[in-house]
Amino acid sequence: MKNKLSKLQIPVLFLAPVFLVYTVFVFIPMLLSLYYSTTDWNGVTEKVFIGLQNYRELVSNKDFWLVFMNTMKLVVVTLMIQIPMGLILAYLLYCRTKGMKIFRTIYFLPVVIAPVAIGLMFTLFYNSEIGIFNHILKIIGLGSLQKNWLSDVNTLLYAVMAPQVWQYIGLYVTIFLGALQSIPEELIESAQIDGAGRINAFFHVILPQITEFTFICILLSVTGSLKSFDHSWIMTGGGPGVRSAYLGVFMYKTAFVNSDFGMGSAITISIIAVSLIITVVFNKLTKMRSDY
């Protein structure tokens, strides 16, 4: 008996810290968020249980839909730019390129830097006095296109998206490059012997080999967009109003600026729900493909 107990001692002792910290600060908070989302609560007074009222209010809130659409636009724009750019650059690096490692190091650099710092940097670039975008336009003779990128309603949202799109291209370059390097060389060689051109070989031989990685990149890009906060927060604070806010910024403003913890939690749960649905659907799709 005593022997058995001491046999358990080490496993329990070794697992306890991870288990406790994770449970108290990740798992329980997630359940609490779910519970708070069904209450009317400002964080100070007593919580009042109101069922799904917050969600009903949310779907009839114009601001929510504006922010939701902003987030979806971000999802689409990041997908359309990050994945193709990542793939193209990776493929070019993969084709017996000298200095491949140096290029890769440079492309990946922005990925490791704090989004908030990148946001600050782009704020400076957009600045109407000193910003390089206006400078460059002037130099190439398109001075008439100069504008205050972060106050013009037409450019605002895209100006806020740009740093995020730019920052993470290197991540996809690196993942795709790893994927390409895992393809057996005979496969590509035999395609070349068959007389398939570079471009043909790329679409018919290489692309099918890395489908799984492509799915993962898409998933990373989408969930990353759904969680985004920092760039929008530092550049515009999500404003004016919520015009340049994403769901994450909207949630923060609702909960911590307007002290509406109940509604803030409802927004949180909708972010989680959307990411979970997308993740599950994607996993199903990848599984189907690999089974096939």
């Binding site: 496993p11 704090a114 969680k227 913890f261």
Partner: protein, 280 residues
């Protein structure tokens, strides 16, 4: 013959286009940082009139003002202390946890439970953690940041660490048992030293996550003296909107540690950030 020559000159053109494209990509990735670095040594006038050139007079005063006047120094040390403590504690406890989960007691339930965090965005913890730390009397305390940073990094750290420990041959454990080592002894004398590369990967990635976090800091800390660097940068933009040189120097100070770390531990950084993708 003619056909052959034609083909090779065509491939030469292709190669030139390829390198042009790659170089353009490199310039777009790197030049923004160079511009900020140069501007951090200029005053407003020069940033305006000489946007692309080297500074004519080097103004280090931007740095001293950002470091002292704008409290970037304080934020820098706060970030350093919080990130390092989080990473050290995280590595130790996830190494202990992974050891049990891969070698002593393989529990699928626990493994799945502890990996759920990979899918939960930080947003889910914001409001509840404010309340929890209020109850723990850790409001506006850097300890609260250390705790949530550890917690939010546990899932992926366990994932990487377990993968690593799984590949350590089991014969080593057996040999150590014969030599009279207990479970704890095997961990500290055998596994811990061998698992160092796995720990380095976890540590570099977790350090980046902690150093770069803004959201948790904003929610849990309000005292300006306890701000982390991300919050410091955010505040800098608020109070020094038009001091461009100073903003640039604040930016440079905030990225120096991660850039150094990236250049030194590039392999681990890349491995960590793409681990989820590569193993599927």
């Amino acid at each position: 013959m003619g056909k052959f020559r034609n083909k090779s000159s065509k491939s030469k053109v292709a190669a030139i286009i390829k390198y042009l494209f790659l170089t353009a990509g490199a310039v777009v990735s790197l030049y923004p940082f160079i511009w900020v670095l140069l501007s951090s040594l200029k005053d407003n006038n020069e940033i305006y009139s000489n946007s692309f050139g080297l500074p004519k007079i080097i103004r280090w005063s931007n740095y001293t003002q950002a470091w002292n006047g704008a409290r970037v120094g304080t934020s820098f040390f706060n970030s350093l202390i919080v990130s390092l403590s989080s990473v050290i504690l995280l590595v130790v406890i996830t190494a202990m946890g992974s050891y049990i989960l891969t070698r002593v007691h393989k529990s699928t339930f626990l493994s799945v439970y502890l990996s759920l965090g990979i899918m939960i965005p930080i947003h889910a913890m914001l409001i509840p953690s404010v309340i929890i730390f209020k109850h723990l009397h850790l409001q506006d305390n850097l300890v609260s940041l250390v705790l949530v940073y550890i917690a939010t990094n546990i899932s992926f750290s366990l994932y990487i660490m377990k993968g690593f420990m799984d590949r350590i041959p089991r014969e080593l454990d057996e040999a150590a048992t014969i030599d009279g080592c207990g479970q704890a002894g095997i961990f500290f004398r055998v596994i811990f030293p061998i698992a160092k590369p796995g720990m380095a990967t976890v540590a570099t990635l977790a350090f980046l996550n902690c150093w770069n976090d803004l959201l948790l800091g904003l929610v849990l800390i309000s005292d300006p003296m306890k701000r982390t660097l991300s919050m410091g940068i955010s505040a800098l933009k608020g109070s020094y909107v038009t001091r461009y040189g100073l903003l640039c120097s604040g930016f440079v100070i905030s990225i120096v540690p991660v850039v150094i770390m990236y250049l030194m531990f590039q392999k681990q950084v890349v491995q960590g950030m793409t681990a989820g993708a590569v193993k599927g």
